[in-house]
């Protein structure tokens, strides 16, 4: 109780320290005045009385000092004094302080920004209830190289009834529907989800209600809208609930609004509609049986992923027994949902970049440490004076640490501001393929990271000078007289070690960047199988009333005619859907010389117009292209790509052969191969083309298509307006959307790689510069402090060349040591990120040799400048100065 009171008293005193000071001054003054007065009354002269009063009082200053100690916390006093002193010192050495603070701020800022990305994309839990229990369930087929395939409804039904690991299993898929309204028709992304999906994820609509599983509701066509759609379409009004949207020509009722930012796995849609899960009325012609879904499940609380995987594998083998022999290779894989959100490659890339920035931070800290060490040598005298005046070693170390931590805190604040700017930039310009980027923010964890890394920086920077101080005999007379020959062996040792470490770290980064640049080089040199330059893509949807295939065929033909007539258009073609995001495996029956074979094949099927291959620039290798003769009533024909030709008719000419979709005994029609085209890497340059078949547009016109227009302009987008008008002239109710140059659309596949490569290259260039500055500073300083030695050497006959070699040799020796260590580290780390490489091995000799040469050159240049100065030392001056 009493102690608590004492603490409170001190705390109060701390706040009012100035007033306390004033009061004790006044009290002592009154005391002395009273005493003087009494002595005067005793008969002393005023002068003598004052002296007598002083004498009986004792030392006023000591008294006040003791007094202050009583009311203050001693260490806090020391601390605030240290802080004030540090501020003064830093201000005085402002060049040092500015350089260090700027370096550290940049390092802290970039690492904090990177951490915020890692935090949002990888570390922060998914915005669902108990997200660690959520799993994606995939159908896999190793013989087809299908690892993460969608699953058919009846399979999911079997999984649900047969498994006990899951508390629930739900399905979803993304699709596209036409939303028509007063402003015209538009194509819009819709998430089709099983009614139990939201409860399974633990997500409640922000307003309204979710889907119920009742069958009756399926007929009412309820729809949930995204927060974004609600804001854009309804202006955030609560009238939205209960209103009607016309989707694919049929009215649907809005029953709820989802929370902002809601998405399932990576599916982000404006509208969400339910699909019947089981036992519902089968809509369409058995569409439910052929449709495949993404499947998400919630594990029961006590079940691990391994247990679930074991159970599902057993179920898969049971299900396989019922399948035709050709399909008995199916498996089921159970993977954490978090892996689906951010693919392993993105994860790896983020960790790599995060590590790279941390390396950069270490290099920057090493540089600042080196600077402050150099400075501590020049401050040796100050320290010696302090020690002579009675400061203990601990006290001096504490002061040095306070200085550096303060430096780091200032840098940390600036760095955090920088990070804020970076975060904005990343949000604005980051690769769109990276999920959850919109969640990047400066949250508590990121701020904690910034604080931690700032303090770490401060301690790293302050520790080395402190150690050097401890090692030095503070009171040595040499230090006091201000003569320090070459600045303490410890200091030099630490600085050399720092330079070695900097080079090692820089090399790791440079090798990493080199490998990525080489991968980039390989990727961009791949022939995609078509020529995307000067091609404009626009998506066209037919009006919902165009139910007859001939209507659509006719529309497409007229649209193509109109477009081809437009000025600046060289050619135009139509394909059902140019971009492949997920291919499905199916059974294909093929006629070969040795007989008819059924086999599972991961096949992509597209409808194309006669001129499509011309327009996109894909060469026809054999056979013929489609012609007007391939009409709906003509025999069914197909063009296949090389991958399919190779797989289905290995070593034989495939033109003229027949195949059909489905098993041998199915009654589906036969296609006759009339031509073979080159493989098109439509899933991005880095992915091999899957087997593809093309059928004439006229024989099976889809409801929506991609139109490809080869223009004569390098900026095809400039023609978008004219082309849009051309289409409108043909049919004003057909929605056009997604107009973009093919190069840009296709380039999306490359953005992530470009982003990684660009960032890592940037980091490593900065690292190289920092390392160069580090070695330059060290050599420069070594020359400055060894002026006398150099003078001596010259006076006993050393030539300028000898001095030059000595100085450059020192720098080179350090950088080569760093090089050796760095190359080992790079080789080791390179294997860890080999998943990000393309076409190069982690130990790519070209990269390693180039980087080594580059670094050696940089080290020589950085040592050259100071070495020149050393050569210019005038021996007479050098010897006299000291």
């Amino acid at each position: 109780m009493t102690r608590l009171r004492a603490v409170l008293f001190r705390l109060r005193a701390l706040v009012r320290s100035r007033q306390m000071d004033r009061e004790i001054d006044e009290e002592i003054a009154s005391h002395l005045a009273e005493a003087t007065e009494e002595y005067v009354q005793q008969g002393l002269s005023p002068e003598e009385a004052r002296w007598a009063a002083q004498r009986s009082f004792g030392g006023v200053t000591q008294s006040k000092e003791v007094y202050r100690q009583v009311w203050s916390f001693g260490w806090l006093e020391d601390f605030s004094r240290d802080v004030r002193h540090a501020a003064r010192t830093l201000r005085r050495g402002s060049a040092f302080a500015t350089a260090s603070a700027a370096t550290l701020a940049l390092a802290i800022g970039s690492s904090t920004a990177m951490f915020s990305v890692l935090n949002a994309v990888v570390l922060r839990p998914l915005p669902y209830q108990s997200p660690e229990q959520l799993a994606m369930l995939w159908t896999e087929d190793p013989t087809q190289n299908v690892r993460e395939g969608r699953s058919a409804r009846r399979d999911v039904e079997q999984w649900r009834t047969g498994s006990r690991s899951f508390a629930g299993i739900a399905t979803f898929d993304g699709m596209s529907v036409t939303l028509s309204g007063a402003e015209g028709a538009e194509q819009i992304g819709v998430g089709s989800i099983s009614p139990n999906l939201l409860p399974l994820l633990g997500v409640l609509p922000a307003q309204g209600r979710g889907f119920s599983t009742e069958v009756a509701e399926q007929q009412q066509r309820p729809v949930l809208i995204s927060h974004q759609f609600w804001q854009a379409r309804f202006g955030g009004s609560s009238d939205a609930i209960g209103s009607t949207l016309v989707l694919d020509g049929r009215p649907s009722q809005v029953i709820g609004i989802l929370p902002a930012g809601f998405q399932v796995a990576r599916l982000d849609a404006a509208l969400w509609t339910p699909h019947a899960m089981s036992d519902g009325p089968r809509t369409g012609q058995n569409a439910a049986d052929t449709q495949t879904w993404f499947v998400v499940g919630r594990l029961r609380p006590t079940v691990t992923f391994e247990q679930a995987q074991a159970e599902m594998s057993a179920i898969a083998s049971r299900l396989n027994d019922r399948l035709p022999a050709a399909e008995r290779n199916r498996g089921i894989s159970v993977l954490p949902l978090s892996l689906q959100m951010v693919g392993t490659q993105s994860r790896l890339a983020l960790w790599m970049l995060g590590g790279a920035v941390f390396f950069l931070f270490l290099i920057a800290a090493a540089n600042v440490t080196s600077l402050s060490l150099a400075r501590s040598v020049t401050r040796a005298r100050e320290m010696a004076v302090r020690a002579a005046l009675g400061a203990g070693v601990g006290r001096i170390v504490r002061q040095l640490l306070t200085e550096s931590v303060m430096l780091a805190v200032v840098s940390g604040v600036i760095g955090t501001l920088l990070a804020l700017v970076c975060i904005r930039l990343v949000r604005a310009f980051g690769p769109g393929t990276l999920p959850r980027l919109n969640e990047i923010a400066l949250d508590v964890r990121v701020l904690g990271w910034a604080l931690a890394i700032s303090l770490l920086g401060g301690i790293l920077v302050g520790l080395a000078p402190a150690i050097a101080t401890l090692r030095r005999d503070l009171r040595s007379s040499g230090e006091l007289s201000g003569r320090s020959a070459s600045g303490g062996a410890t200091t030099r040792g630490i600085r050399r070690a720092l330079v070695v470490a900097e080079f090692a770290l820089a090399i790791v980064l440079l090798v990493g960047a080199g490998l990525l640049v080489r991968s980039w080089w390989h990727v961009t040199r791949i022939d995609p199988g078509f020529r995307p330059e000067q091609v404009l893509v626009m998506e066209l949807s037919t009006p919902t009333t165009f139910n007859a295939p001939t209507q659509r065929t006719d529309l497409y033909a007229r649209v193509l005619d109109e477009i081809q007539a437009a000025p600046g258009v060289e050619n135009a073609g139509i394909i059902g859907d140019l971009f492949i995001d997920n291919t499905r495996d199916q059974v294909v029956t093929v006629e070969r010389d040795e007989g008819t074979v059924s086999e599972g094949l991961r096949l992509r099927r597209d409808e194309v117009s006669t001129d499509f291959f011309n327009a996109i620039g894909t060469p026809l290798l054999r056979g013929r292209s489609f012609s007007a003769g391939d009409s709906p009533n003509a025999p069914l024909v197909a063009i296949v790509n090389e991958a399919m030709a190779r797989r289905s008719w290995p070593g034989r000419d495939s033109v003229g052969r027949r195949f059909k979709l489905g098993p041998r005994n199915s009654n589906r029609p036969w296609f006759t191969v009339v031509g073979v085209v080159a493989d098109m890497r439509r899933q991005g340059l880095e992915r091999e083309a899957v087997p593809q078949m093309f059928v004439p547009l006229a024989q099976d016109p889809p409801r929506a298509v991609d139109i490809l227009i080869r223009t004569s302009s390098d900026d095809p987008l400039a023609m978008a307006g004219a082309l849009r008008t051309a289409v409108r002239r043909v049919e004003k109710d057909a929605p056009i959307y997604g107009v973009a140059p093919l190069e840009q659309q296709f380039g999306v596949y490359l953005t992530q790689r470009r982003f990684q490569t660009f960032l890592l290259t940037g980091f490593s260039v900065v690292a190289l510069l920092l390392a160069a500055v580090g070695i330059y500073g060290l050599v420069q300083y070594s020359v400055a402090t060894r002026t006398r030695e150099i003078g001596l050497r010259q006076s006993i006959g050393a030539q300028a060349g000898d001095i030059f070699r000595m100085i450059v040799g020192e720098g080179l020796m350090l950088s080569l040591t760093g090089l050796a260590l760095g190359l080992m580290g790079a080789w080791w780390l390179g294997r860890a990120v080999s998943g990000l490489l393309f076409g190069v091995t982690p130990g790519d000799p070209l990269t390693f040799v180039t980087v080594s040469l580059l670094l050696t050159a940089v080290a020589i240049v950085a040592s050259y400048v100071p070495a020149r100065r050393a050569m210019a030392v005038d021996p007479i001056v050098a010897l006299r100065v000291t």
Binding site: S30, E38, V66, Y67, V70
Partner: protein, 115 residues
């Protein structure tokens, strides 16, 4: 410092202060110092400056309180008063001292006449 005066025994200044305040009522710093000197018959070599940290410590412990007032000669001074807690503390310390003193006394007697 005159050699025949003895130093204030370590740790006893606080006791002297609160005893003085108990006996004489509220006083300002200089008067406390003077009274201590006078009561000791000018036998104590009190370094008056040490009084103020002691006063502050006593105030922190809550045994005395202070407020600004005026001395007889009209100066602004801080006047110290014994609090109730201080009175209790005084009783405790007085008893302790007497016991300690009597023990010491008994030892000294033994030393004088070993029996």
């Amino acid at each position: 410092m005159t050699p025949d005066k003895s130093d204030v025994l370590y740790g006893t200044l606080g006791l002297l202060v609160i005893k003085t305040l108990e006996a004489l009522g509220p006083l300002h710093g200089y008067l406390i110092a003077r009274r201590i000197e006078q009561i000791s018959g000018d036998q104590l070599a009190l370094n008056q400056g040490t009084l103020y940290p002691a006063l502050l410590k006593l105030e922190q412990m809550g045994w005395i309180s202070s407020k600004w007032g005026t001395s007889e000669s009209g100066r602004r001074v801080r006047i110290y008063t014994l609090t109730r807690a201080g009175r209790k503390q005084l009783e405790k310390e007085e008893a302790q001292w007497q016991r300690a003193a009597s023990i010491v006394e008994r030892f000294l007697k033994i030393a004088e006449n070993p029996s």
